[in-house]
Subunit: 578 residues, 2 copies
């Protein structure tokens, strides 16, 4: 016996389309429809007819083997036998996070192929993997943020079962897995949900489509759709947490905001399953309310991506000053990011032309993710260049040293650990020629600095744009990549062995710098991270006492107490003795 249920208050008639049959469904209360089917194959394809139109896929489809427009397929989560009993994720407050995109992480681009690379991550010292969205989206490849079938693992990545095998394999190796979910809009292709119910708002548009209806009529069920989605990934796929995409694009004026409700539901599930679960936000507003405890009127999310740290670091190291990097570029800003998480904590932002953010009072550094790179910061560049194309290897090492000795949770983007040279481009696979053309043209118009040479911008729809973005694991056999990987391993080992370095105490961070001579020294208790970003040799004075060089990015670094001597573009990490 299988019960099909669907929430569809909008149509007058709903039928189940299955096995070449049309089976009338009965309207329940609150706009739900249901029908019971006896003796069904474990995996049966189905859809819903709404007022004679369709069949359309199930908004809660667990699997879309033929893509967003195809029929939905039943799956039985209970049939999967998990071997990760008693799994507990490593403590999130000392996490080392690794963001990856299933489609480009491996040549095959599948869940099962990713399993083969887990040992590499374990050896690197990663504790938490963060998967870019794996929900069903338009076409065979894409970033995943234009998801439609939010309950279905993307068909090109493998089956629901193979995603479970991946999570299970991670757990077997001690790796926690966080999933990126998009609760601020639906993708443009295959989005039939408006025919079922008012999922979307008609008075507010995000940059990517109509906003989700979290506070108007029928929003209780819309909220349930998203809350249940979160709970499904955490419960049925054993994910250890979620990354909530672009929360700033949610408009919700209700007395009980959706984000707060979601966090409470996840907390309840955590108590039920007896595993720690985490929620990480993307937050373009520097809004600490997301992180504040409930007693202070906050939503008690665990952490959020901190772009201010990224932008400070990137702008200092590359000298880039276009677009949002115009708000950054000084060592003073980088120092502020290291000590305060936010550079813009209520300050006027020239780029935004308004004040931005709010002081993160009372929050420690483990509430903020720090990174030199992520999918957005690379992929939102016209040419998808990684940092290695934009700065010297010396600076790459400085960046890594600052990320991994910061009071924040460090995050790497796939391949960053070896200095991968492959780009991470914006790619899509829309089958509708009009939409494909619009995406292509839209991408070209996005970069004013490419005026007159827009044809240099890779076509998101071209298959080679996707192919080029795949990691080239062969690079790992080359000496310079090996060496850079070892640098990351060393930094991660240092961090994981030192409670002081891994601590989130921002108030312990002392930063000295010289804006003109371009040096910056970070002190955290007995640790000193000395960076020479200038063009001359630097003799950096150390605090009184004995120090030893624990890690050097360059053989030319030498300790001549009471100073450490650093050639240009180098970093030395020292520990005070006794």
């Amino acid at each position: 016996m299988h019960t099909f249920r669907v929430w569809a208050p909008t149509p007058q008639k709903v039928e189940l389309a299955i096995l070449q049959q049309r089976i009338p469904m009965a309207r329940e209360e609150d706009g739900w429809w249901s029908v019971e089917m006896p003796s069904l194959a474990a995996a049966s394809d189905y859809g819903f007819l709404l007022d004679e139109e369709g069949p359309f896929p199930d908004p809660r489809s667990p699997y879309q083997p033929r893509g967003v427009e195809g029929l939905s397929r039943t799956i039985a989560h209970d049939n999967f036998v998990w071997s990760d009993t008693d799994w507990q994720a490593p403590p999130f407050s000392s996490a080392v996070i690794y963001e990856l995109h299933i489609g480009t992480f491996t040549p095959r681009g599948t869940f099962s192929a990713a399993i083969e690379k887990l040992d590499h991550l374990v050896e690197l010292g990663v504790t938490h993997i963060e998967l870019m969205p794996v929900n069903e989206f338009s076409g065979d490849h894409g970033w995943g943020y234009d998801g439609v079938g939010l309950y279905a693992p993307h068909h090109a990545y493998g089956s629901p079962e193979s995603l479970k095998r991946l999570v299970e394999a991670c757990h077997r190796k001690g790796l926690a897995v966080i999933l990126d979910v998009v609760y601020n809009h639906f993708g443009p292709v295959g989005n039939y949900w408006g025919k079922f119910a008012p999922y979307q708002k008609n008075n507010f548009a995000t940059p990517w489509g109509p906003a989700i209806n979290f506070d108007d009529a029928y929003s209780d069920e819309v909220r349930r759709f998203f809350c249940d989605n979160a709970l499904m990934w955490l419960r049925d796929y054993h994910f250890d947490g979620l990354r909530l995409d672009a929360l700033h694009a949610i408009v919700d004026n209700s007395a009980r905001p959706f984000i707060e409700q979601l966090a409470e539901k996840v907390l309840n599930l955590e108590r039920l399953v007896g595993r720690k679960l985490v929620l990480i936000a993307e937050n373009d507003l520097n809004d600490p309310r997301l992180l504040w405890p409930r007693s202070q009127g906050g939503y008690a999310l665990h952490a959020h991506w901190n772009d201010d740290f990224h932008h400070s670091l990137h702008a200092v190291l590359t000298g880039e000053n276009r677009g949002y990097y115009a708000d950054f570029g000084t060592l003073a800003n980088l120092a502020k990011a290291l000590q305060n998480a936010y550079v813009y904590d209520g300050r006027y932002s020239p780029f935004r032309k308004r004040r931005q953010g709010r002081a993160p009072t009372g929050l420690d550094g483990s509430h903020f993710l720090a990174y030199l790179q992520n999918h957005d910061q690379i992929g939102n560049r016209a040419l998808g260049e990684r940092s290695g194309k934009l700065m010297s290897m010396g600076r790459m090492k400085i960046a890594a040293a600052l990320v991994f000795t910061s009071p924040f949770l460090p995050m790497l983007f796939q391949g960053e650990e070896w200095g991968a040279t492959t780009p991470f481009l914006y790619f899509s696979d829309h089958r509708d020629p009009k939409l494909a053309a619009a995406v292509r043209e839209g991408r070209r118009r996005e970069f004013p600095s490419f005026a007159g040479k827009a044809n240099e911008i890779p076509d998101p729809q071209a298959p080679e744009t996707f192919e080029k973005s795949k990691l080239n694991w062969d690079e790992l056999s080359q000496p310079q990549h090996k060496e850079f990987l070892e640098w990351h391993k060393k930094l991660i080992r240092l961090r994981r062995a030192s409670p002081r370095l891994a601590s989130g105490r921002m108030e312990d961070v002392v930063v000295r710098f010289d804006e003109d001579a371009r040096w910056l020294i970070v002190e955290r208790g007995d640790w000193t991270i000395a960076c020479n970003l200038g063009t001359k040799n630097l003799s950096a004075p150390l605090r009184k006492g004995k120090h030893k060089l624990v890690a050097v990015s360059d053989a030319g670094i030498s300790l001549e107490l009471p100073t450490v001597s650093l050639p240009p573009d180098t970093v030395g990490i020292l520990k005070q003795l006794g």
Copy 2:
């Protein structure tokens, strides 16, 4: 020497138009323009030319003697000599509030005419007057919510000086004055502000026009425009507080919301001027965050209008169950409103088709305004009927008894105290024939229950619609009105003399009721308010002990311990002795 300044980042050129001259203005930082004029008459008319277009009025015009489209006129606030030195408003937590509309409160409809009626309010026992918006709006008469010149007192009500005289006269008589301000949209006529700067959002519309830009580029100055407006009324006009219209129509995703900022600015001014200042919200979301203290992540406003109380009371007394009254109508709901302020504190609202509100935990009743009538609840009816047209005089007395013995801050709407029979209709005075027609038609379409007889709905643009809405003070000489006025005076005296009745302790409120027999008894400490809403005589049992009847709405009420006997549609207020 007079300095003219205007914030206008949008145009390339700004000129001051004054005395038949065009005087170039100099661009300052941040989009401000300024010019100094020597030896100017105290009241000079001026405007601004933007890129050769105009002249347009000043967005911060202090006076628009010829309406929203005319030139602005300078005034010198410092020249007014105030006589209300050392004024302190009565404590807000035990306020008795009286809402009035300057244009219809008196036959002349002016600030100075209102002064003549203040003694009536003092004798009634009012402590706080709340003026419907007095900002400059389209035409000579209207409700005022489509304000454009937010810094200018409406020209038809009198001069800025005469508004000051009104506030001063109130203070002389011990009355505090609160002003209704609209910070969620601009009116459609005379709104040239978009030519000066991005005051409005282009991705969100309120029901009345584009939303205000509180969180996008340039929003710092937009916020300052509204904050300065609030401070001006409180500082330069000596208002004692503001009523913030329709806060639910503000969309503001920033880390530091405008409302919080405004409340902080007002608190700073309060410290500066040494007078208590209050902020009252209109809040259609039952959102206690507006009221929570800052330490709990709230905005610390002093109170908000509580429509749940109104709707509960109105629906029970009238039996009306259309529109939003469908969510109300039971004595259980009325009892919940009396004990919890909100009926919808997270409960599902059938009318809204979603959950509504949040428990007002930790807040006492003095944070909520209670009323049987207000301008909206009367004027948003097709025929603008006051409660007296919808229920018996006995029920009117019951309503008043419940309002004035409630743990909330009671509010009356002008004339309610004597049971005024004049309607309060929706009226406007738009001079543009197209807009006039649109308003007329819009009003007719607003009421589905008037389908086929829409011509019965008074035309908002007809002068008689405005005239009919004026209070008829001659009614006060008629016995039934005199008697009803005395009922209000008695209730207010009782409340003001009893710390228990005036207290906001909702947890002290005990309510017993019988949904079928339609009686309801409220107990507050030694007070008992017994209401018979049924069709039969009621013998209501009292708690053990001696009671005395302190106020009866009907001579047929008698005390026969241990019960009180009440004819249908009556209320008795009893006090326990010893």
